[in-house]
């Protein structure tokens, strides 16, 4: 059975990472920026798994579990911060967060 070459996975993960980066740079809602960051993390996970398969070694696969755990912790804290902001300001648009200037 033919298997998919590693370079295909890496290309896909590169596209996902670029999409995430574009989202971070262009989206103005905190939730969407955050979602784009998660996309970048998943791109990293995909390439870790693909490389682990290419090297025939499990270290990359276990690293993915750790990255997933970190992403989950980041979600918990990030959403808490976003909710705290929304309660006071009724908006999560990052352009409205401009009171600290100088």
């Amino acid at each position: 059975m033919e298997s998919v070459p590693t370079s295909y996975y890496i290309a896909l993960s590169g596209i996902l990472f670029a999409l995430g980066m574009i989202g971070v740079l262009t989206r103005r809602t905190a939730i969407m920026v955050f979602l784009s960051v998660e996309l970048m993390l998943n791109a990293a996970n995909l390439s870790l798994v693909a490389f682990a398969r290419a090297w025939g070694d499990l270290v990359g696969q276990t690293a993915v579990f750790i990255v997933m755990t970190l992403a989950a912790a980041e979600v918990a804290i990030g959403l808490a911060i976003i909710v705290a902001i929304f309660r006071k300001r009724e908006t999560t648009n990052v352009d409205d967060l401009a009171s600290l200037k100088g």
Partner: protein, 484 residues
């Protein structure tokens, strides 16, 4: 045929300093229900001191654990002690200022201790995954303590810190994935051996991975152009949090850079060239930004950016000279920045406003604080009797000896320009001014203790630099940054 089961080598001794701070953090979390906040702060301080004692007993041991994932060599221990010193000064400042800053709940101490645990994990790391876990534990706790004060300013600061920090982490993790793809290993030793002589099949992958790691670390240490969050976060968060973020967190991120770039990736091409460009940008942006600040906390934030550039110079040097220079400079930087911000914390009435105008005539109202602040600012500016001069000198020397002559000259010019914005507040303090005192009048002995540590530290280390530098000057401990 059965293969024998190989038990992992789990030596607990190298883990001890980290375990003690983690226990302190758990104690602060749980005992917060039963004890008053000041008792929790005391318990946290005791666990920091115990962790420091355990580090001193491990000195020169060179122990490793978990198959080299965790290494308690002298590099880790010296940077760990700097981290503990910075954290202790933060806790001293919060002991009395937390009530005024609306931070007087035990959760603050707990999150701070978790952050310290993460920072120690970075300094002790022996592979990229351990480093990543430490970095994230530190960053996630840092986002919380930046946001914890119930105010619009702190929430805005926390949100900016979180979003940009999360982007930085994502870039860093992608860099780790690419480096793994190029070398097939995540441990520093493995990466160093795989890249020695560049027998890696896919050098492009390795270089892109290294540059992404550099960008990710750039976000954490505030190298330009990844520094944009710094003034808003350090200026908008409470002063004690700004103190912690600009000292302890920066020291830990530099420890990670030292391990990764000085140890694991010393043979990888291209990153040093890019780092040079980033350093020039950082020194220019930091010093120019600080020139036009009227808010003292924002001035200190830009000064932290400028110092990031000077600190990163030491990373470019040969590890045998750059390593001790970086460690000494990090210690001095921690002392003088924490001392300055401790004075601000002692004197400010509100978190929002401590402007340069407020400092006019400070010497006639609070002579001791004014002199302490002048000493710290003089040290930050790099004036000779104080330790900041030696720190900058060693960093410049490390970069100069590694052949970065032009860069060293630019850095020296930047450090001269920095004199202007450090000496302006120092001069204002000694100008006569008849307005009544605007400073906070109440009790603040622990904060004053932190100020004393900073002032005595920069003065003594400036006159006798070998007290600290002599401990880390042995080049043998810096040539095995990645491990054996």
């Amino acid at each position: 045929m059965n293969t024998p089961l190989i038990l992992p080598d789990v030596a607990l001794a190298p883990l001890l300093p980290i375990a003690i701070t983690l226990l302190g953090a758990i104690a602060a979390t749980l005992l917060g229900f039963f004890l008053p906040r000041r008792a929790i702060t005391l318990i946290s301080m005791v666990s920091l001191v115990l962790s420091g004692v355990s580090m001193v007993t491990l000195w020169n041991g060179g122990l490793t654990s978990f198959g080299g994932s965790l290494q308690a060599d002298n590099v880790a221990l010296s940077i760990g002690l700097i981290i503990l010193l910075g954290s202790l000064m933060t806790l001293l400042v919060t002991y009395d200022s937390a009530a005024r800053a609306k931070l007087a709940f035990p959760e603050f101490d707990a999150m701070l201790m978790y952050a310290v645990t993460g920072t120690l994990l970075i300094a002790f790391s022996g592979d990229l995954v351990t480093m990543l876990i430490g970095l994230e534990v530190m960053s996630l706790s840092g986002y919380v303590i930046a946001t914890l004060q119930d105010s619009r300013r702190a929430e805005e600061a926390g949100m900016k810190y979180f979003l940009l920090g999360a982007v930085g982490s994502a870039i860093l993790i992608y860099g780790i994935a690419l480096v793994y793809g190029a070398t097939g290993t995540l441990s520093y030793v493995g990466i160093r051996d795989a890249t020695a002589g560049l027998q890696v099949q896919n050098v492009g992958l390795l270089v892109v991975g290294a540059l992404l790691l550099l960008c990710g670390f750039g976000f954490k240490v505030a190298l330009a152009p990844f520094h944009q969050w710094t003034p808003d976060v350090y200026g908008g968060a409470p002063t004690s949090v700004g103190l912690f973020l600009s000292t302890v967190v920066k020291v830990a991120a530099f420890a990670g850079m030292l391990r990764v770039f000085g140890g694991a990736m010393q043979n990888v091409p291209a990153w040093a060239g890019v780092l040079q460009v980033l350093i020039v940008a950082t020194i220019v942006v930091g010093n120019l930004g600080a020139l036009f600040q009227t808010n003292f906390k924002r001035l200190m934030a830009y000064s932290a950016v400028a110092h990031t550039g000077f600190l990163a110079l030491a990373l470019l040097g040969n590890p045998a000279t750059g390593g001790p220079a970086l460690t000494y400079y990090l210690l001095v930087y921690t002392l003088m920045t924490a001392g300055t911000l401790a004075v601000v914390s002692a004197l400010q009435r509100t978190e929002a406003a401590f402007t340069l105008d407020d400092m006019r005539g400070l010497f006639y109202r609070h002579p001791a604080y004014a002199v302490a602040l002048a000493v710290c600012l003089g040290s930050l500016a790099g004036l000779p009797p104080f330790a900041g001069f030696m720190g900058k000198y060693l960093a410049f020397q490390a970069a100069f000896q590694a052949g970065y002559v032009g860069l060293t000259i630019i850095a020296a010019m930047g450090s001269v320009a920095a004199l202007i914005y450090y000496l302006r507040p120092a001069m204002l303090m000694f100008m006569p001014d008849r307005t009544p005192a605007r400073e906070y009048p109440g009790e603040r002995t622990p904060t004053t203790a932190a100020v004393v540590i900073g002032v005595v530290g920069v003065t003594v280390l400036g006159i006798l630099p070998n007290l600290a530098y002599g401990l880390v000057a042995n080049p043998a401990i810096w040539t095995v940054l990645a491990g054996r």
